[in-house]
Symmetry: C2
Subunit: 188 residues, 2 copies
DNA sequence: CTCTTCTATTGACCTTTGTAAAAAAAAGAA
DNA sequence: TTCTTTTTTTTACAAAGGTCAATAGAAGAG
């Protein structure tokens, strides 16, 4: 809980009153590893803060799933497009490790937008952060080779390569596990 | 000007007072085709509404530029990451056609956040829209072939293929002009 | 219209990645 | 530990895209 407060206080001035409204709506929930948080076709109803855990976003596929994102400790997580549009999700969201979430429903978030001074500002920052992250990735997918993207992960997210099966990383980079294996052989 | 008002009224309830504050800060500016709106290394200071025109975002490169986005009539345009972080831009922004912009400086936007009820809500919607657009593109870059991405452009942005040199489209799809040419031959 | 410049296509060849199938290695369960 | 399942690597072959160089076509300037 304290982690969430810190997360916000980095960016905005949080009054005691606003924090009370906000925190009163958070619900703690625990998940085992490999739990499906959201399935394709379902509509996302939660914005969740990860106290601890790793979460993977992917489009299932017979051959290899397409993993397009991961989320970690102290980040917000949601099928945010489905959450915003209230349309069915086009991808799955699952835990890769045991995970503890603090969850907020759409109704509660909308109440926060209305009841607090700071709600819309927080919502704006959240969307802006997601935008910045995505833009960086989009540019990387266009300008870098698969090998460069793999090397970038080493410097930017060393934890990832340690803790996550390579086949997910391969998919995240945009290649097959076989191709990633060849890259790794080439490098070392 | 009326176009901008319509753009917002689609999403939010705009009071006469808020609109006055907002519109008073907009500055109209005309550009010739091939005008560089922002150069790598410069920090973005504008959020602009395109009354008419086509704008291209790209990272220059000796061989082929990397074009990663276009913007059109009735959209907002900005090197939004540089604008938000106030760090130097890592890409160029240029007009492809004659373009008319209504421009808002960062200072003025921040004043709008403070002075109007609706400022942060508008800012949140803007960031959310950009996020949704980027996510869609990111997934497409990972899951679709170059050929599929080209075909998607036909259904989603037919205007683009009509009005923009193919070499930019090739780059946007993530391939060279030569590869796009081969795809087009294969299709027709 | 003519000339120049920019854009699009083509061909030959090379590199990277995908595919399929198998083996090796690692991780998890009993 | 032993057995089972999952993950990673390897190989051979096919497909897609990059690179280089040349040519054809289209658009813009005078």
């Amino acid at each position: 809980m304290e982690q969430i407060r810190k997360y916000f206080e980095k960016r905005v001035q949080l009054t005691e009153k606003d924090w009370k409204v906000f925190s009163s709506k958070l619900v703690k929930q625990e998940f085992q590893k490999k739990s499906l948080l959201l399935k394709i076709g379902q509509t996302e109803n939660h914005l969740s803060f990860i106290e601890r855990g790793i979460i993977r976003f992917y489009i299932p596929n017979e051959r290899n799933d397409f993993t397009f994102s991961f989320s970690f400790d102290n980040e917000f997580v949601s099928a945010y497009d489905s959450f915003l549009t209230q349309l069915p999700s086009s991808y799955n969201v699952e835990t890769l490790t045991e995970t503890t979430l603090w969850r907020l429903s759409l109704n509660d978030l909308q109440a926060i937008y209305v009841e607090t001074e700071i709600g819309n500002t927080i919502g704006r920052f959240a969307a802006e952060d997601l935008y910045l992250e995505n833009l960086k990735r989009e540019i990387s997918l266009l300008t870098d080779t698969a090998e460069q993207r793999y090397l970038n992960l080493f410097t930017e997210q060393p934890q990832l390569i340690q803790r996550i099966p390579l086949k997910y990383i391969a998919s995240y980079i945009g290649i097959t596990p076989q191709a990633l294996s060849r890259i790794r052989r080439r490098i070392y």
